[in-house]
Amino acid sequence: MSETSIWIMIIGVSLVSILPRILPVALFSRYEFPKPLKRWLSFVAPAVLGALTALSVLAPDGDINISIHNRYIWAFIPTLLVAIKTRSLFYSLLVGILTMALLYNFV
């Protein structure tokens, strides 16, 4: 890819990545959403997090990998327990990263 093509690509990608992020805030902020829509939107965050968690743990390299060889599944278990028990992002992250490092280096 030529120098110019790369710059065109960067500008094109930046436009299509910025617009869906900023347009809703720019356009919809002046309206009051109807109650049913607000209710529906209140489920978007749990749904998004459910999907992201599933993908990041069960398809860490982009392909679905549900097997005992998937380290992410093993690291998921202590991390979830610590998250529920301590409700601390710091400790969850610490335990998750440590577990992963141990699994990677010693298993």
Binding site: I10, P20, I22, A47, L49, A51, F76, L98, M100
Partner: protein, 230 residues
């Protein structure tokens, strides 16, 4: 500008930056390998801030694909943020001035969304908090890209340090925090299930992440249906 809020936002971005570090480094290294200069790689992370989309760009470039293909794939990959951003509107309305909110939404990612939504459950949003969280996460992304592009193959395997689990661990924890109602558990689980099922049936959605959009729409609708009964 509220100093305390800004500080809180910066604080909350630390786990995000930790997770971005290996991803940004790797992007910098790969961008260099497919022929992007250090400036181009860093500018891409500055102007785009779309991890998955940037990795797709590398993949297409490696395969000798066209600019148009990269942009089209990025339309799909980034469409989910329309949904994320819309769900933030009821929170920001009346609390963060629209112009500032619009500008700062540029820094919306899966991670900043998850952290911000979690915060807004019991704290009113402020422009300062948004600025602290989004801008410092973005600076983390830019810096790690720059480092990757400069250091290139000198960087060893970051997987060894377990940093690959930083973002998954964050999602897990924020999911636990986010669950308040019984219906939330149901929504999260069904979304996870639909997301994988769609990804399994239509493998291309695993790349453009369209499975997240479809699963979210289905699961949120199911959530409305089942919670109507309580």
């Amino acid at each position: 500008m509220q100093k305390q809020e800004l500080k809180q936002g910066i604080n909350d971005s630390i786990p995000i930056i930790l997770g971005y570090l290996p991803l940004g480094l790797a992007f910098g290294v790969l961008a260099n390998e497919v022929g992007m200069s250090i400036i181009q790689a860093t500018m891409m992370s500055t102007l785009c801030f779309t991890g998955a989309g940037q990795y797709i760009a590398i993949g297409v470039m490696q395969a000798g694909g066209a600019v148009f293909t990269i942009i089209l794939a990025n339309v799909l990959v980034n469409l989910r943020y329309f949904l994320f951003s819309t769900s933030l509107v009821p929170y920001l309305k009346g609390r963060v001035p629209t112009v500032i909110g619009t500008f700062l939404s540029y820094g919306l990612t899966d991670e900043t969304y998850a952290v911000a939504m979690n915060r807004y459950q019991d704290h009113a949003p402020t422009a300062s908090y948004m600025a602290g969280l989004n801008l410092s996460s973005h600076i983390g992304w830019i810096t790690s890209t720059l480092l990757g592009a400069i250091l290139g193959s000198f960087i060893g395997n970051t997987e060894r340090l377990g940093l690959g689990f930083a973002l998954p661990a964050m999602y897990i924890c924020l999911l636990v925090f986010m669950i308040k109602r019984n219906s939330d558990v149901f929504v999260a689980l069904s979304s996870a299930l639909f997301c994988l099922l769609i990804g399994y049936l239509v493998p291309s959605t695993m790349e453009n992440l369209f499975n997240i959009i479809i699963a979210t729409i289905i699961a949120a609708s199911l959530g409305v249906l089942i919670s109507e009964r309580d």
